[in-house]
């Protein structure tokens, strides 16, 4: 098919950093038209981080450019009467408005759901915030690590003899972002059938809490609080991270059956382990895993982690190298699958840079990133001129008054 899956859907994105933009980016990669609204006074703060040195720094952020691909870049000063008016015109011809601005922002701008619904009765609006839009603490400030802690996941992570541990930068942003894509698709489906729009209130902590099913249920069923296991597992053994050859190199191994255990013993050249009563079946392996871990670590410590992985996998044992933070770029499987997306057309930048793939394969309408992330206000002419029919003269006037533009103007870092 020559079309993309989500053709014909138009999304307005008033979003910042990671927890917002990454969700609408998924939709853009699947074919939706996503118009990212920023202003020259308040552009997306992500543009300030992880910058490649050079001109027009705001277009050279690795982070912004990763999570805003395939979107149209529009600037509009929403505090200016004409800017607000134009935004409202855009809402009238769009399907979805997404925002992860703090709740009061859209309210104070006079652009919250009740207003937008007056303009376009079938508009779908999704509001994403750390603790949601209702409840006594709805306006509390949350970043990814705060979400990580408030959802219960930090408590469950770490060494058994250590404090709770936060998980890397942004996982607790990326997950809520992905849920926004789901929310939008569900609302669109509902609207297609009924003609009705709606408001969706997404609490980022809640999108993570739903991923802690077994821990929740152990407490609600048995009043038992699950806690940190380090790399061990409640029932599988061996199940751990083992040191390999090199500096800070590790491999992950997880054995879930007697067959896998026997295979591991064979691969390591230690069939006698399989015959040892201490390790002969799952429960005894679990009870003796400290010794198991020592034995296995003795085997892995002088071996390259990739070789360990390949040798064990060939024998049917789950194992995988613990990839360092950017080692996934060289991973043969990801490369083999064409996961990485290389782009050499980022506005104003040199060379080709790698970007994360979408991780959803569609056989007839493959997802793709049609264009790089937009420079600030890059698509003003297209959105304002072609889509909304605003004249060239007016656009020049708007640029003069800084209602639209391509550069920061009296730029103040947004407080989030």
């Amino acid at each position: 098919m020559s079309r993309m899956a989500l053709e014909g859907i138009r999304v307005i994105a008033c979003s910042v950093y990671l927890a917002g933009p990454k969700g609408t980016e998924m939709l853009a990669a699947l074919g939706a038209q996503v118009i990212k609204v920023e202003s020259t006074k308040y552009f997306d703060g992500h543009r300030n981080i992880s910058i490649q040195p050079g001109d027009r720094y705001w277009n050279r952020s690795a982070r912004f450019n990763t999570v805003n691909r395939s979107k149209y870049g529009l600037t509009l000063d929403l505090t200016h009467p004409r800017g607000k008016e134009i935004f409202k015109e855009l809402v009238k011809v769009s399907d979805v408005v997404f925002t992860n601005y703090p709740r009061r922002v859209m309210m104070n701008l006079g652009l919250d759901y009740p207003v937008l619904r007056e303009l376009n009765p079938s508009i779908i609006m999704v509001s994403s915030a750390g603790l949601g839009h209702t409840g006594p603490w709805r306006d509390y400030v949350t970043y990814a690590w705060v979400v990580n802690s408030l959802c219960g996941m930090a408590e469950l992570t770490g060494y058994p003899d250590g404090p709770p541990a936060v998980i890397p930068d942004g996982m607790c942003d990326a997950v809520p972002a992905s849920y926004t894509a789901l929310a939008i698709l569900l609302a669109l489906r509902h609207r297609r059938r009924t003609g009705l729009g709606q408001h969706i209130d997404l609490g980022q902590c809640e999108t993570l809490m739903v991923g802690l099913g077994e821990q929740f249920m152990d407490y609600t069923m048995n009043r038992r609080l699950q806690t940190r296991h380090g790399n061990h597992h409640p029932s599988m053994a061996p199940h751990n991270i083992y040191r390999c050859k090199g500096d800070d190199e590790w491999v992950a191994i997880a054995v879930s059956s007697d067959e896998e255990w026997a295979a591991l013993c064979k691969v390591t050249g230690n069939p006698q382990w399989a015959r040892d009563e201490k390790f002969s079946e799952a429960l005894s392996r679990w009870n003796n895993q400290a010794e198991l871990d020592r034995l296995i670590a003795g085997w892995t410590v002088n071996r390259d982690k990739r070789q360990v992985m390949e040798a064990l996998q060939k024998a049917g044992v789950p194992a995988g190298g613990v990839l360092k933070t950017d080692q996934n770029l060289d991973d043969p499987h990801l490369r083999g699958k064409g996961y990485w997306y290389w782009c050499d057309a980022d506005p104003g930048m040199d060379g080709a840079h790698p970007y994360a793939g979408l991780a959803i394969g569609l056989s007839k309408t493959p997802a793709r990133f049609e264009k790089p992330a937009p420079a600030l206000g890059q698509d003003n002419d297209f959105v304002l001129g072609d889509m909304l029919g605003i004249s060239g003269e007016e656009m020049a006037k708007l640029a003069q008054e800084h209602v639209i533009g391509n550069e920061p103007y009296q730029y103040r870092q947004r407080a989030i």
Binding site: L6, S50, A62, R63, T66, L131, W137, Y140, T142, Y143, A144, S149, C151, G152, A154, G162, P164, V166, D169, M171, A174, A183, L185, L186, A187, R189, R192, R193, Q198, I200, L202, E206, V210, L212, G213, E214, M217, N222, L225, H233, S235, I241, W250, A254, P318, A319, G320, L323, D326, L329, D331, L334, G336, Y339, H353, A356, G357, I360, S363, A415
Partner: protein, 401 residues
């Protein structure tokens, strides 16, 4: 009760364990009609995974299974028999989507790959979830949550500098793969509604985890290095991180001048701002002695509750590290009615986690609890497909259901 968002979607669900069932749970909880196909007598292996109600390892009492399979109808079917395959195709003829999570190649061996099912029903969307995808060098490799977390740099960066990397204590890879599969399925259905044609959706857990760690290789490519936060295990971060209080821990995320201003005011040390502003790069976190002598004790003398609300009162991002009990009792989630009580024939009334997000016009809802094994055989085979009770007996006898 207004209609739910996916009420018009009929799903045939072959999945086991977590990733697949979570995908179909998302669709079911927002309205889809999901028929869960299980092996006769044994069912989904997740039925044997704890925690169990009262630690009774009964296949109808697995908390994980109960949670992941709300709203689904349960039938048994042996796909390794010709009769089973034939029945499956009858069901597939009427379905909008088939979701499976077997190791790649299994559906083909059963004679139920996408090419075959497409002929049975050209409008069908087939979604396959697997560890490494339907193709690629690792296609036939095995994985568990631990190995998936290791495959993206996520695991490497978690823990302390002088110790081994430590995993996230949740099935984060599996659940998110289920989410991505639901997104893929709905996208393919949207396209199908326009064109009349289904397609094959391929989701791999490894790619999902990599997608969620998002941008380290990009940052390295742009800037030549990775910011300290990506190496949490180095112990160097641009934020205070996890801090002990009197009765637990909080996480304190302070980045900007404004945030530190507010925080220094509560600490009673506003004069420090002058000192920090003299630095070329604003980095209060590098003042390690000051932090351990003046800042950490402030936290240690207070409860997590005090610290939480005081800091948030000046719009500083601090939050308590909640245990599961504290999550369940957290006033904010209680006010939002996050938990839901569900009744189940064998486990009675229990509280379950609720909606990932609130749709005002087409709400999330649990219409029925997780099915007992084969609970809906009669409804699906007889009422739906038109078989008689006698037919069912014969099918049972032959091991087809």
């Amino acid at each position: 009760m207004s209609e739910q968002a996916a009420s018009d979607v009929r799903v045939l669900d072959l999945t086991w364990y977590i990733a697949g069932p979570y995908c179909t749970k998302l669709l079911a909880d927002y309205g889809a009609d999901v028929v869960k196909v299980e092996r006769p007598d044994r069912g989904d292996p997740a039925r044997n995974m704890g925690p169990f109600l009262g630690d009774d390892p009964d296949r109808e009492k697995s908390g994980l299974f109960l949670y992941l399979n709300t709203n689904k109808k349960g039938i048994t079917l042996n796909l390794k028999t010709a009769a089973g395959v034939k029945l499956f195709k009858e069901l597939a003829r009427e379905a909008d989507a088939v979701v499976e999570s077997f190791s790649p190649g299994t559906m083909a061996e059963l004679g139920l790959d996408y090419e075959t099912l497409e002929k049975v029903n050209p409008r069908l969307v087939m979604t396959s979830i697997s560890n490494y995808g339907q193709s690629g060098p690792y296609r036939d490799y095995k994985a568990t949550e631990l190995i998936e977390q290791a495959s993206a740099g996520h695991l490497y960066a978690t823990g302390q500098p002088d110790r081994e990397p430590v995993r996230t204590g949740a099935y984060i890879s599996c659940y998110q793969a289920g989410l991505f599969a639901a997104i893929g399925t709905l996208s393919a259905l949207w396209c199908r509604d326009d064109t009349g044609l289904g397609q094959h959706v391929d989701v791999s857990i490894m790619e999902v985890v990599n997608n969620l760690t998002t941008y380290p290789p990009t940052i390295k490519s742009y800037t030549g290095s990775l910011r300290p936060d990506f190496y949490l295990r180095t112990g160097k971060t641009s934020s205070l991180g996890i801090v002990p209080c009197q009765d637990g821990y909080v996480v304190a995320n302070l980045y900007s001048v404004r945030e530190w201003e507010g925080f220094l005011a509560i600490l009673g040390m506003p004069e420090m701002m002058e000192v920090f502003l003299k630095d070329k790069i604003f980095s209060p976190n590098t003042y390690t002695e000051w932090i351990s002598e003046r800042v950490l004790p402030w936290f240690a003398e207070r409860t997590t509750d005090e610290v939480f609300h005081q800091a948030q009162g000046v719009h500083v991002a601090v939050g308590p590290v909640l245990t599961m009990q504290q999550v369940i009792e957290f006033p904010q989630y209680q006010a939002r009615e996050f938990l839901l009580e569900i009744e189940h024939p064998r486990t009675g009334r229990l509280f379950y986690p609720g909606a990932p997000f609130k749709m005002a016009g087409s709400p999330w809802q649990v219409r029925s609890p997780a099915p007992l094994l084969g609970e809906h055989n009669k409804e699906i085979y007889c009422d739906h497909l038109g078989y008689s009770s006698q037919d069912l007996v014969k099918l049972r006898d032959r091991g087809t259901i």
